[in-house]
Amino acid sequence: MIAQTVAVALLGAVAVWFGAAVFRTSSMVRSALSLLASMAAIGGMFLAMEAEFLGVLQLMMMATEMAIMAVFMVMYMMDPGGLGQMDMSHQKRLSLASGVLAGLAALAIAFLGGWGPVAATAPDAAAQTRALGIEMMTRSLLVFETAAVTILVAMIASVAVAIARRR
């Protein structure tokens, strides 16, 4: 149990560190890879919280997603190497204030909320994956099929706007 807490805290610290690094570096590639590291650490937290399928999935999905993000950053941002140490932000104070405020509010809810008893054990990973599959095919079937349609819409939308029509 203590090991679990320590692991969650450590990986969480890594996630937060890299999350902050995203906005602290001026190199776009570093920025995207920092986000990847943050997301991978979150995946690690999932593993530490015994959500194995989700953790591994997060590790995998985010690697490709963030690498593709890096590509788009390098395409559309000036000075992607961050050589000029350019500052690309605005309304800093406002953002900082909202960030801190939102964070405090969330923390307050986390610590003040009565969460009730904590479950000591979770089902093992194989059972989780199986349960997830059954859930998907039974009660959440509609959610599952809706997800397909949503993804389809996203694919159509992004292709429709992004691809230049040729003569």
Partner: protein, 698 residues
Amino acid sequence: MNGARLGTWTWPRRLAAWAIARDLQTFVVPDARLARGAGLDLAAAGLRPVATPRHATVLVVVGALPEELAIAAAIAHVQMPRPRAILAVGSPSTPGLPEPDVAAPLGQEALRVGVATLRRVLAAGAFAPDVEVAESAAVQTRTEFVCPMHPEIVKDEPGICPICGMDLVPRETAGETSPHTRGHGGMDAHAEAPDRPETAGDAYTCPMHPEVVQPEPGRCPMCGMNLVPREDAVARSQPGHEATPMAVYAGHEPAATARVSHAAHDVDHAEHDAHAAAMPDERPIDHAMMGHGDMGQQTPMGLQTASHVAMNHGEHANHADMAMTGSEADATMPEMDHAAMGHAGMEEGMMDHSMHGGFMSMVAMTERLPRSADGLPMEWIEAPFGPLFPGLPGGLDVTFTLDGDGVAAAAATVATARGVEATWLAPTETFPDRLAGVDPLAPVAYRLLARRALEAAAGVEIDQSIAYARVRDAEWERVGSHLGWLAEFGALIGDQWVADRAAELQIAVVRLTSEPAAKLIREIRTFASAVARAPLIARRLAGIGTTAPNVAESVSGPVARAAGIATDARLEDRWYRALGFMPSVREAGDALARLHVRLAEIGASLDLVLAADGYRGEGPDPTLSAHLSGAGRATVETPRGEARLRIVVEHGSVVEARLESPSTALIRIVPDVSVGEEVADALVAVASLDLSPWEVTP
């Protein structure tokens, strides 16, 4: 040893030195094909060719290097990590390169001995208590500082960009002494570029309000910005402005880009000069218009002034960018300073408005950038693929302007220029040898060319035995040359089997003496038909580097024949006609067609060799009068196409010689076949031309 690592001997170092001496990764200069053409089998001698000097221990120098190539070799050498060694084959030392650690004469046995010596030298000298640092002038760099967004800002010391306030970043540029400062006549162009007119600063205007004109510097009464020197008078008088690379790139026509960045130096020069002169001058006007144009729409909070300023300068940057991607870049050149100086007044103005950390308009930054076919304005980089690039002939210096991994513009030149035709002038006895030295990739064809020109001058006819001996020689050379090309080409497209087998057969052809060659001929035929039938190779090459009809007409040889033009100098030769020669022609004009033409030519050449008695060996040449006078011309179909020679002989000496070589035409079509392709395909297209940098005449 020259390239030893610093350190006294300890047992781990001994072990490492032993291993290094066993594992000889090799970078070959000028290229491996030339080595094989000299009959050297590097792999059999224990050398393992690799694609980059970064991974190599041994720099193998084959033959004598011309000056520019020697500089490139020196750079490659210094980029090899220590311990590194130089093995010179066939030439004891090369000016510009450090002394070779081992020198071996040409020949496989000598190479084997040389490698053995090299192993001993490396094992004994990989580490040394004191090492010299290579201080060749060629590899000297000086550091300058440049703004990442505004390439025209180049300073000698660190600081911030006067335009946008970003930190300047250091970068190297080649030392002033190097004649090879990123080629294409860049340096010369800059030296010749007219200086910025001294009289330019006679009127001052506001960058935002062109109607404000004052005789002395000051602030604009309308917006308070610092005034900048006005130079529009000069700008209008520049007729060449339309022809700047920028103007061409702004259009979406890839064909147009191809035209601009030809290897032809004078074209570049002209454009460059025009551009350099026009650039500073037109700015105030453009800016002013831009600033006004956008002012209405764009009002981010409290940033109006600053963003306008940025916008103007963004545009500046793009002018400079354009120049850089277009012809030889301003960025590295001394001339750049003067471009930057042109804005001196304006920069100060910007400083006042302090853009530090401010908002910079991307719209303005990208507005004038070249757009790709899909409409995205991207930045282009210029990447050199040569003179020492593994996939291309050594000495061929191709520069691709890369738009992502696509080639947006290409320029080709050679680093093998070895002086002028005057050096060939010689007595008639030695003239063929001199001319044979023109192109180490086709010495037989050039010797034959010289002989035939001399005989034409003398009016001598040759008999059948000599003619057949010449056919055999020339055709064997063609077979060897095509195989050598195929080996390099196979390595470029990553087909190990083709590369290895073709290299093996090339060496066998080169080493062939007068013994019967039936087995070799059979093997070559089998190999050629296997390559011709390989479906994946066909997929890989089809449609790459297709030559337009007018482009194909400008060249000769296999490249023309692959595009359906049945041109071949051998058709004019009565001995070839007697042997029943027919040229091999394909229609498609792409890299695949060129491969097929060469494979078919290998077969046809073997047929000719067999028809002309099969053996290799030089025939006796007819003797010429020692006091020959006259003029002669000859044409020979070299493996790359028609080479034409005109000579004037006086009293047994060649006093004038003019050569038209096929590669001189081929190098001009490099942009035509490569622009618009993906970089790997562009390399395939260039390599499929099989041009020999050695025979390119200015």
